[in-house]
């Protein structure tokens, strides 16, 4: 199965941000999408997830060959698409356990009822795997969380929903080095043949912990360079200006 993005154009209001991006991610692969601020990385992930503020003006997004652009955001989620948010929202008064329960229930078929004991067993298993304290589940979703806690909460949700494809938007932002290690370990735990990941990041730092199969550089709304993990090191050494100069001379 694959997530296929074909010549995608995305606008916020009148302003075009993504200008013809093409990328195919197969299950089991990890793709890193790098690029400086303002090149449209986050816009791409939000548009694929169906955020109402982002308009797809042309192009296609196909999941397993079927277009998802006409689907509601929740339908896309249930189809197996997960977005790990750069800035996850707070939901006061709703515990992580209850929120996840509602989400897991929503992913089940019509008429299927989530069984409480089995749910908690699975939840605790995943938490142990991700080294998350059990007390965590009683807290309101993201309310008063540190940057690291927010990102771990995203990873836990991802672990519970078992998506086919995950878009991880700046998962490393706002993390100190210890938190970065913990979160990366979590992502590595979830890596496997059933999950395709698009890892959106600014810095090469994260890629020391989550080693990608492919690296793409985004510039002004499109992918301008693709390669393997060595491309990330090259970028780190030469900076984004190198891409800019290359583009100008090409």
């Amino acid at each position: 199965m694959q997530l296929e993005i074909n010549n995608l154009h995305v606008a916020i209001g009148e302003k075009e941000i993504v200008k013809g991006l093409t990328l195919t991610i197969r299950q089991g692969e990890v793709h890193a999408l790098m690029g400086p601020n303002g090149t449209g990385k986050s816009t791409l992930s939000k548009a694929i997830a169906g955020h109402p503020d982002y308009t797809v003006t042309s192009g296609q997004v196909l999941l397993d060959g079927k277009s998802i652009l006409e689907m509601e955001p929740d339908e896309r989620s249930r189809a197996g698409l997960f977005l790990a948010f750069q800035y996850p929202s707070e939901i006061p008064g709703v515990s992580i356990a209850n929120f996840l329960r509602a989400a897991v229930q929503a992913h089940m078929g019509e008429g299927e009822e989530l069984e409480a004991t089995a749910y908690y067993k699975r939840l605790y298993h995943k938490m142990d795997l991700l080294k998350i304290d059990r007390k965590f589940t009683a807290r309101s979703v993201n309310e008063g969380f540190s940057g690291g806690e927010k990102k771990r909460c995203e990873i836990l949700q991802m672990a519970m929903l078992e998506p086919k494809f995950a878009l991880m938007d700046e998962t490393d932002s706002g993390l100190d080095i210890d938190a970065l290690k913990v979160v990366s370990e979590g992502v590595n735990q979830l890596r496997g043949p059933g999950l395709g990941i698009l890892l959106i990041t600014h810095y090469q730092r994260l890629l020391n912990y989550i080693v990608p199969d492919y690296v793409h550089v985004m510039w002004d709304g499109r992918i301008v360079k693709s390669g393997d993990k060595s491309l990330a090191h090259e970028l780190e050494a030469k900076g984004y200006d190198w891409v800019k100069t290359e583009l100008a001379t090409a």
Binding site: A49, G50, H51, P52, D53, E72, P73, D74, R76, S77, R78, F82, L83, F85, P88, S89, E90, I91, P92, G93, V94, F99, A102, A103, A106, H107, S140, Q157, L161
Partner: protein, 483 residues
């Protein structure tokens, strides 16, 4: 709520010409309605209406006098539109049916009940036989079995639990002393109206030291009177005794009348505890104008837990008069105003003794064009020492058209008392909804999760079955609001 669309006026249950009051010679003072009174008092409010109600109920002369006096006050008092909404002017007092006797047969069949209402009952898990009553298909719901069990259990402890008619007829020595004392007839126009035409409601007396272990519920004694428009409730809990009373149910009530105006009086004697829980979900054409107040003697505790959903306009400010030293009063209020609805709710705390404490926590939710208003009064006179009040009101707005207002009036005189007031307004943001939808929840599910989270700390104070029902009800409301 949008899924319950009732016409503003339903066909009258009886023709006006059936009115047994018409043509009766009032001067004879001799009323006999043995068979015919199984009808109603017709529409409109006059001295005759009072005569009729009083004679049907075979009331003592003092009660009839009480009613007549109340009618005078009702006529004399203006609508409170100087501070409240002008929407009150739309109540047509001449078109209202003030009394329905128990033989009243509604003219609606189950087939005529709209499908969405039937679905609502199903979703809420309302038992089959109660659905027909709630939908206005049956005037009577035979719950005597359940009710008499409870009644028998508590009567062994000496508890009196009867309706207003029976209470004033059989136990005047207990109830007359406090009847109309906590809320005087002329407290406001609608307490006067209720005092003139009241019927149904619960009168409860709990003897000294008796702790009633199970909550007493009006729900167990659903009948035409109890679900009437002008219920009258008086609960007297004697020294050191305790009781919890629950009124209403989360199932929507399909009243054929557009005005509901109840009066609820609570009396907690020294060291007594009363907890009064209300969950109401009115049809969107109803004016729900209720006066509720408790009198707390020394070291007594009165707690109102009040949840208002539905109705066109609800005005309700449960209060506690803290009369004795160390008395405690609390109001926990949840209001949800959907499109076209106005919830004007709040609390009144009148401190009248030293070391009295009060706590108000009010949360309101406004959806779409819905409007929520909080009105609070906290009064602590200068002569008192060691009084404390805490007031917290939080409003949640969903969609940009919603509106919320807060009118707290806190009069505290003297430095020997402490008052704390906090208010907040928050919005369910598009980002928050998108976040939840990205996890697979529909827009309606996402909104109801937000709302349930907002009231979570208060909902936990409801008895288990009520909080479960409340959650389901909010789910339904939010689904409906998304369309």
């Amino acid at each position: 709520m949008s899924q319950i669309a009732l016409p503003d006026t339903l066909p009258p249950a009886t023709e006006a010409t059936d009115n047994p009051v018409a043509g009766i010679d009032q001067s004879s003072g001799n009323f006999s309605y043995d068979v015919k009174y199984a009808l109603d008092a017709g529409t409109g409010l006059s001295d005759h209406t009072i005569d009729y109600i009083s004679s049907v109920k075979k009331e003592a002369p003092w009660i009839k006098e009480f009613r007549m006096n109340a009618l005078q006050q009702f006529r004399a008092k203006p609508l409170p539109t100087s501070w409240a909404t002008k929407d009150l002017e739309n109540i047509n007092f001449d078109k209202i049916r003030y009394y329905l006797a128990s033989g009243q047969k509604p003219k609606r069949t189950w087939e005529e009940v709209p499908d969405d209402i039937k679905r609502t009952f199903e979703r809420l898990g309302v038992p089959e036989q109660e659905r027909k009553f709630l939908a206005g298909v049956e005037a009577q719901f035979d719950s005597e079995a359940a009710y008499s069990n409870i009644k028998e259990a508590v009567s062994k402890q000496g508890v009196i639990f009867v309706n207003s008619t029976e209470a004033l007829r059989e136990h005047p020595e207990i109830f007359r002393k406090w009847f109309g004392k906590v809320i005087p007839t002329g407290d406001n126009k609608f307490s006067a109206l209720n005092s003139a035409v009241f019927s149904g409601g619960s009168f409860i007396y709990v003897p000294p030291g008796v702790k009633v272990s199970h909550p007493l519920q009006a729900y167990f004694r659903i009948n035409a009177e109890n679900f009437g428009q002008f219920e009258r409730t008086l609960i007297i809990v004697d020294e050191g005794a305790e009781v919890t009373y629950m009124e209403g149910c989360t199932a929507p009530k399909f009243s054929t009348s557009t005005l509901h105006s109840a009066v609820v009086e609570l009396v907690a004697m020294k060291g007594a505890k009363i907890q009064y829980i209300t969950v109401q979900n009115w049809a969107p054409n109803v004016f729900n104008l209720v006066t509720k107040r408790g009198l707390a003697h020394e070291e007594a505790e009165i707690k109102w837990i009040d949840c208002n959903i539905g109705s066109r306009l609800t005005m309700k400010y449960p209060g506690v008069v803290l009369k004795g030293r160390k008395a405690r009063g609390e109001v926990i209020s949840i209001a949800l105003a959907n499109d076209g609805q106005h919830q004007d709710t709040g609390a009144k705390m009148i401190h009248a003794a030293d070391e009295t404490t009060s706590n108000i926590v009010a949360k309101s939710i406004s959806v779409g064009q819905g409007r929520s208003t909080y009105r609070g009064v906290v009064h602590i006179p200068k002569r008192l020492k060691g009084c404390k009040n805490n007031t917290e009101c939080d409003a949640l707005l969903i969609n940009t058209n919603s509106r919320t207002d807060t009118y707290p009036a806190i009069t505290v005189r003297g430095a020997a008392n402490r008052v704390q007031h906090e208010a907040s307004v928050s919005k369910v943001s598009e980002e928050q909804i998108f976040y939840m939808r990205q996890r697979g929840l529909t827009e309606g599910q996402a909104m109801s999760l937000s709302v349930n989270g907002f009231i979570n700390d208060l909902a936990r104070q409801f008895p288990m079955e009520y909080s479960v029902e409340l959650k389901r009800l909010i789910d339904l409301e939010m689904e409906g609001s998304v369309g």
